[in-house]
Assembly symmetry: C2
Homo-oligomer: 296 residues x 2
Amino acid sequence: MHCRVCKSRAAVEVRRHNAAFCRDHFIDHVTRQVERTIHEFDMFTHDDRLVIGVSGGKDSLALWDILHRLGYRCEGVYLDLGIDVYSTESLDHIERFVKERDLILRVVDLGEEYGFTIPKAAETTRRSPCSACGLSKRYILNEQALKGGYDALVMGHNLDDEGATLFSNVLNWNVEYLARQKVVLPSSDGLVKKVKPLVRVAERETAAYAVLSGIEYEVEECPMVAGNTVNRMKEWMSLLEHRSPGVTQRFLGGFQKVNSFDEEERPTLLSCESCGRPTTGTTCAFCRLRARSSQS
Amino acid sequence: MHCRVCKSRAAVEVRRHNAAFCRDHFIDHVTRQVERTIHEFDMFTHDDRLVIGVSGGKDSLALWDILHRLGYRCEGVYLDLGIDVYSTESLDHIERFVKERDLILRVVDLGEEYGFTIPKAAETTRRSPCSACGLSKRYILNEQALKGGYDALVMGHNLDDEGATLFSNVLNWNVEYLARQKVVLPSSDGLVKKVKPLVRVAERETAAYAVLSGIEYEVEECPMVAGNTVNRMKEWMSLLEHRSPGVTQRFLGGFQKVNSFDEEERPTLLSCESCGRPTTGTTCAFCRLRARSSQS
């Protein structure tokens, strides 16, 4: 197989684009996909101050690298979830990455700043670890972005993540989640603007990008991930993608154009009695999780 | 495994209901599922005159048998598609079924009455056989139901058919099809009311019902079915169903409650220049198919 651009020996095949690329042109290709997404959805400009949530995995580090190379002003936040070696190793990768590029990173220690860790939360509440983790990340990254006065919070969700989440939301016809599953979520009272520039890049492509760019990332999956529903959906979507290359992107792209689940499905938001952030109840889910996880 | 009702040895397991049944109680169970669907969606009453499209396969014969046993007034229409031995064998099964129960059947010969067969249509047009067949069935069954003055046209689509079609429509975000994918399609100018009482019964259950009821049906798949997209989606949904029993029914049930794709998505209908039936263009798709297939 040969590179679509320079005809030299290809390093990566991208079946859904019916193309293959050498190392350099693959990096170009991924970069262009991200750039195109940023422009198409008017995500941000070079004047904006951005912050990205980084986990130490391939997606967020690849994306941060791309944004940095494209000249965007993007700082990072790492949330230490207290998951043993997994968390410390992840931070090591990020710190090396940041140092090499002279970037700004803020580390938030869930245990120190909020009084609980994800293993603790999973143990003391009936939530799955992934659900407690997702909730905590959403809350704390939003907090950090608001406090830092950033213009947008950048998320590293890739095509497979978004496809699987959409698929799961559709299977359950969760119209409230469907109404909020957007590539750009505009800011609203107490919620920072959120953008997902990686939605056109598949998971194996962010991995290939990281490897070919020499980015060292945490390759181990989180040890608490067993039974994660999105992962199961991803596996399942990948079977379909294997047989019909491009189906995930068409599914997601089509959804972005449909807009059948818009605004009216969004619930009225109140202020959390404890932290003041938006919630549909009296106390927000994060404050409830925190209260229950910090008790015992 | 034992029957949920009488504790005797079970003949069929229904995983998504976490149950198993002996022969008699399985037949009861399927019958009740159909009855419940008819009532829940106000499909028809014992006063209505119904007509069912029968193919000679398990679904339509099982459904006709259930409706007959429940005392509904239901006649049948068989459309001879001209697919060689497959069509003649199918008709044999139906004729035996009808004779045993003293039912009324009308046979429409596509070749004689409309001047073309499905193999001919597939050969002379760029449509796949399944697409030409589906289009012809929809058109002619509607014609027959209108001409006969029936109150509703009963379709034998089962849970897997509807799940796979929904899934395919969602993957492509075909909002026009989604708006029309209903368990009950009310009558409108030139279109008879259509109902699908089998949507709560899975494919293997209609097969089990037919076998346990001693209904002989055409077990061979249509020889022209290769590459059928709905079948591919069915295979794929069945993988998910196997791992999460009940997911197909929840997917379909949730969709029926959502109604996000309603009326506004429906195109304006005009009258076909050739036959006068509703169409979105000037000549309807069936008349175009017929014209092209009858020429050569």
